[in-house]
Symmetry: C2
Subunit: 429 residues, 2 copies
């Protein structure tokens, strides 16, 4: 059988890792694939730097313009590791598929925000689109849903899908740091980029959840439609409030099927200590699947990193080699997106107020007026100097919609009471 020829577009952290595995493990991979897996060419703007950084042979960088690669009928699989969702990257991916080549990518932003026509073209042209690496690095959640839990009705997908925010929250929890100090530590240790906004505001996690919503529930959701709250506003006090109810705050991707509606959100949640997710710390990712038949499963592992993500891409290559043409996995689009404000959770609400007599009465009365039962009013972290109260209220199950109404009522009754928006944190058992 003719070798399976690979081209890599972009030889940065991930692309370079792929090149290393493909060259170092060529014999092993070829045996597993049942045919020779041959890295042929790498397109890279700065070839010399890549050669030195990854110890690669000069030969991979000859005749390596994207045009030449697209025109080369010998190339079977193109690995897109340029990143970003620019027109250029988008068009390149489409062109790969138009030329009859399989595509493997780790590009979650592109697939989540502009991926519809890429998925469609791959299906139309009966080509394989590997994107295991786009969701939680080496955790096999894409093949998990497409190939392993196909006998089940998936009822919920949730998890910790952003390593940077999990690293920061873990440092806050374990070392008692405030958000700024923990972010600084993450940047110093290479766990957060210079501009970490997409990690902190839940954008990156949303990309992954959007891909899983499509795969598991057949549901197409845009970034605008997905309810999203980041971790930027979480304070040291909030972490303590969670600790007092035996929980840890984690940035949770959450999707749950209820009566043909899927409720989905990315949001900091207070995860109870007996939930496996609460023990997933630092840059580790975890996905929880709940199936009608197989019940609860967790897949835990490295969500990012050069070799981890590269391994995932290489596995997609071996998969394509072993399986050839596989029908596209299109879960029927039979569900609609529910309004996540109407899904019930117990909540931890963190209030920052002016420290005035009657505050607790106003707030708890407003909450009670919405038919919400209060479990506890937590200990006040008083900032005496500034006259600011900071305290949590734990509610029984209720909706975000009801809590927001209560907050509006508090504002109406006493406009100067609340400092900052209350943080409304679902409690995950």
């Amino acid at each position: 059988m003719k070798p399976l020829n690979i081209a890599i577009l972009g030889c940065g952290t991930v692309g370079g890792g792929v090149a290393q595995i493909l060259t170092q493990q060529k014999e092993l991979l070829s045996k597993r694939a049942g045919r020779e897996i041959n890295l042929k060419v790498i397109a890279e703007l700065k070839p010399q730097a890549a050669i030195e950084r990854f110890g690669l042979d000069q030969k991979f960088f000859e005749h390596n313009s994207i045009g030449e690669i697209l025109d080369d009928p010998d190339i079977d699989i193109v690995i897109e590791t340029m990143g970003g969702k620019s027109d250029f990257v988008h068009n390149t991916c489409l062109e790969v598929l138009k030329r009859g080549k399989n595509l493997v990518t780790a590009n979650k932003a592109l697939l989540a925000e502009r991926g519809a026509d890429i998925f469609q073209l791959a299906a139309d042209n009966k080509l394989q689109l590997g994107y295991e690496a786009a969701v939680c690095g080496a955790i096999p959640i894409i093949k998990g849903i497409k190939e392993c839990f196909t006998g089940d009705v998936i009822e919920s997908v949730s998890g910790i899908m952003n390593g940077t925010s999990n690293y920061i929250l873990t440092q806050m929890q374990e070392k008692g740091l405030d958000f700024g100090a923990a972010l600084k530590l993450a940047q110093e240790n290479g766990y957060a980029e210079a501009d970490p906004s997409l990690d902190l505001n839940g954008g990156d996690a949303s990309h992954k959840l959007i891909l899983l919503l499509k795969l598991a529930f057949g549901l197409t959701v845009s970034m605008d439609e997905l309810s999203r709250t980041g971790i930027q506003f979480i304070t040291k006090n909030d972490m303590d409030f969670a600790k007092e109810i035996n929980a840890s705050i984690k940035l949770i991707c959450f999707a749950k099927l209820v009566d043909n509606q899927v409720y989905a959100m990315v949001r900091p949640m207070a995860v109870k200590n007996d939930n496996t997710l609460s023990n997933v710390n630092y840059a580790v990712n975890a996905v929880r699947l709940d199936g009608k038949y197989s019940k609860t499963h967790f897949l835990i592992g490295k969500g990012a990193g050069s070799t981890e993500t590269a391994m995932s891409i290489v596995s997609d290559i071996v998969f394509i080699a072993r399986h050839g043409e596989v029908p596209a996995y299109n879960e029927e689009a039979k569900y609609t997106l529910g309004d996540s404000k109407k899904l019930s959770f117990p909540y931890l609400i963190s209030f920052k107020t002016n420290n005035l007599p009657g505050t607790t009465g106003v707030i708890t009365t407003a909450i009670g007026n919405q038919g919400i039962n209060i479990e506890t009013v937590g200990h006040n972290r008083l900032d005496d100097q500034n006259g600011i109260a900071d305290f949590p209220i734990e509610t029984e199950e209720c909706t975000l919609e009801a809590i927001e109404k209560a907050v509006a009522e508090i504002r109406k009754l006493k406009g100067d009471l609340l400092i900052d928006e209350p943080k409304i944190i679902p409690i995950l058992h």
Copy 2:
């Protein structure tokens, strides 16, 4: 495309569960598979009981002798859920493959002890052999290794693979029960069979590890070759000794690649609390994979149960439907089985001795004579009435071989000192 016709052999807990999912979810499964998935016939000695228990249609039980099923050219996949490793079951599986039908089974004992010719025949005849359900129920570890971590060099596979023993150990740990009481509780709650010996002596876990050794390392290991110790001898005191060093005793399947040798064993280990496996409790199973590139991953879920195991079988059916012919996954047999006595761990050794002066001196001297460093000698649980001492020694890293030599020296020096064999428990970080 013609429907994919399924026959089930044996309509007990698992087979009946498969029949239920195939009938209840027929439309969903057929869409995912890209062709109709059609349960055609069920072979069962007591059809009426099965019909009532699982609410199945009478029609599945017509013309349902195994002979008729084997002769029926319309049957594409046979599901073997009879269980056991008898000649009858073994021959039936071979016959299924000889007739050109794909085989799916949850039968770990058969595949681990008598499976070589079944795997070979499936490969020779280019037929699919699905056995995801044979190892840890619905946890996708078989497809995990065959299809998801194929870009990696697996360096270690370990985990908790027997739900019954994990349930018992968890009850001992959490309720302070002794072994007998915990076993009784497991039997009352349906987590242990009337004859639980294969679960307690590590036999069932060994079957699973043998299948994983073949898949991950290309290594064929027999039950006789695999080092195996069960949980029958673990006492309440042993659980406490582990607790004192921040660990929990778990029955661990363990395999590790070191210098082209694979060291493998099934053995109670004291798992440190910061290892995810230590928090896997009751009947839950967990597999840990360590890869050169993807580092550490955990797959956690239900290791047994009717619908969980049935889901796994149904997923194998959908996989076969989606993929058709896939080359057999044969990891090259380039490693040999190492002598697990020569692999180093820190150890927790639990001694039961006559309570005599000088005991600690004799024992620690003998251990020291083998070049083993002692970390701590634990608190003695004295049984005053019978004059019996019960205490643990925690060692630094050493081999089982060295510890066994030390124990032999203790016996030689003072023949009447030791009551029972010391329990030599590796500590897993």
